[in-house]
């Protein structure tokens, strides 16, 4: 065992234990740690927004007499402040509208291509998929599974006749899929805890090398 000589490692270890103390019960150490986190992470956010966005993209060019029209853009951005002035708070909608409109427009066709067209293409069974029998069979199962799953989520028609067994098969696929997600979620959550113990046992206490 070789304890870390780095004071920041000690601070981090104490804060880690303060947060873990919540497992026993809610307590002042946890609450203090929680509030500290909110404060410092926002201070960090301010730092980089200033140094890496506002300075190189606004202050520097305008300061050098270039792109003076950016002052007008900054004025539009400053309308976010009106959120806290009740009489003119509606003006905050303008920068939000620019962002929302442009973002929605930009994502519209690109999302269709990435999330629908390419996915449909991958679902269609082609001759090339039968390069070996396994990939061909798996492709057929995927096609059937997609049809059944979509049918299960299709609520516009009553589930009777052929729709009934097809949508039930959809449930089977969905449950296997959710099971896979749950299994992996267990892995994810445990990993997060392992990460903290690696820090406490390794970086702090020196028990892992």
């Amino acid at each position: 065992m070789s304890l870390s000589p780095d004071p920041w490692v000690w601070i981090a270890a104490i804060l880690t234990l303060a947060v873990f103390s919540f497992l026993y019960r809610e307590n002042p150490f946890y609450r203090a740690a929680e509030h500290l986190f909110v404060g410092v992470s926002n201070g960090y956010f301010i730092t980089f927004t200033w140094h890496r966005i506002l300075v190189p993209s606004l202050i520097d060019p305008v300061g050098h007499g270039q792109k003076l029209w950016l002052i007008a853009v900054a004025f539009v951005g400053a309308l976010y402040f009106t959120r806290f002035i009740p009489k003119i708070s509606w003006l905050v909608r303008i920068p939000i509208a620019i962002f929302l409109g442009y973002g929605s427009g930009m994502s519209l066709l690109r999302s269709i291509e990435a999330g629908i067209i390419e996915q449909v293409k991958a679902t269609v069974v082609t001759r090339a998929m039968f390069a070996n029998w396994q990939t061909g069979l798996w492709a057929i199962i995927i096609l059937i599974g997609v049809i059944c799953t979509v049918t299960y989520f299709f609520f516009s028609a009553e589930r009777k006749g052929v729709l009934k067994p097809v949508s039930y098969a959809g449930i089977v696929f969905v449950m296997v899929g959710f099971g896979a997600s749950f299994g992996y979620t267990v892995m994810a959550r445990i990993s997060l805890f392992i990460g903290r113990l690696q820090f406490l046992l390794g970086d702090w206490l020196g028990l892992i090398r």
């Binding site: 960090y44 980089f48 990993s191 690696q198």
Partner: protein, 302 residues
């Protein structure tokens, strides 16, 4: 804490059903901690998506850069940080140019942390200036900007327009690597390491418009959902959770051993596999015991 004594006598299963949650927490703590201190030997074997990404990066044209997008924050760093570190080791060992960006501001500190760690490892064994890892020459840490559209689409046109200065404040136009890496045409693959759906955003913007090849490193929570993108070929390989990180670490370790780079490093993903195995078995037992107790008490009640 556990047993409820009263007029009515409780069966073993009923007591087990009412056990205080803190006993469960204690079991989880021990099950994870003991194998970390005394691990059992496990050797990760690469799954097909991990092997696919490794092979692509290992064999991509030498003039193409590896772009790593650090799209995670401290909450998921335990799973994802080992991936960033393993990718950096792979790239530096095979002398690939590396570019780093972050789509979340908190990815900046994590990318810087990973760079410092891997740079220190390589610099500690370097015998000449050429062997060292140098910012601006071997890698550029472009940093973070907002919104996503600006970064993902703008970098396809001209990276220096999106990042006039790098993370360290250097003018990107003046960096030697800028001569070689101007936009996505000079990038072999972008690996988005994310705790969210950011890899899909990279596909929607950078791949759809510029044909950029995208690899994905993701938390295990999202991995099952991302298999559709792997199947469609929109992702070139995927590292899923800490297990994916461990498998990539093992491939990189073998590669570096072949290149006589045998110095000791901490492979945090591999290191975690014993604990992960023990914890999975514990959770399965929790579910089984919980179910037996539930059905036993239900039958008694009925």
């Amino acid at each position: 804490m556990a047993a409820q004594s009263g007029a009515k006598r409780h069966t073993f299963w009923e007591i087990l059903q009412r056990i205080d949650r803190r006993w469960i927490y204690l079991v989880v703590w021990l099950v994870v901690m003991v194998p970390l201190i005394k691990p059992f030997p496990v050797k990760p074997v690469a799954s097909p998506p991990v092997q696919q990404m490794f092979n692509y990066i290992d064999t991509m044209p030498e003039d193409k850069a590896l772009l790593i997008s650090v799209d995670y924050s401290p909450d998921t760093q335990a799973e994802l940080h080992p991936m960033t570190i393993a990718l950096l080791r792979h790239a530096f060992a095979t002398r690939r140019r590396v570019g780093l960006v972050a789509t979340y501001v908190y990815g900046l500190g994590l990318a810087e942390d990973a760079l410092r760690e891997v740079k220190r490892e390589f610099d500690s064994v370097a015998t000449s200036h050429e062997d060292s890892i140098i910012s601006g020459e071997d890698f550029v840490f472009w940093g973070w900007t907002t919104p996503l559209l600006t970064m993902m689409l703008g970098m396809g046109e001209k990276i220096t327009n999106v990042f006039p200065v790098d993370y360290y404040g250097a003018r990107t136009e003046s960096l030697p690597m800028t001569r070689h890496v101007k936009n996505y045409n000079d990038v072999g693959i972008l690996v988005s390491i994310a705790g969210s759906s950011m890899p899909i955003s990279w596909v929607a913007y950078a791949q759809t418009q510029f044909g950029l090849r995208i690899g994905c490193g993701t938390t295990a929570v999202s991995a099952a959902d991302f298999y559709t993108y792997l199947n469609s070929g929109q992702f070139t390989g995927m590292l899923a959770g800490m297990r994916g990180a461990a498998e990539y670490e093992e491939l990189v370790r073998e590669k570096m051993a072949q290149m006589d780079m045998n110095w000791h490093v901490r492979n945090r993903g591999t290191e975690a596999m014993s604990s992960q195995t023990a914890a999975h078995i514990a959770i399965i037992l929790f579910i089984i015991v919980g179910n037996i107790g539930y059905f036993a008490t239900r039958r008694r009640k009925s």
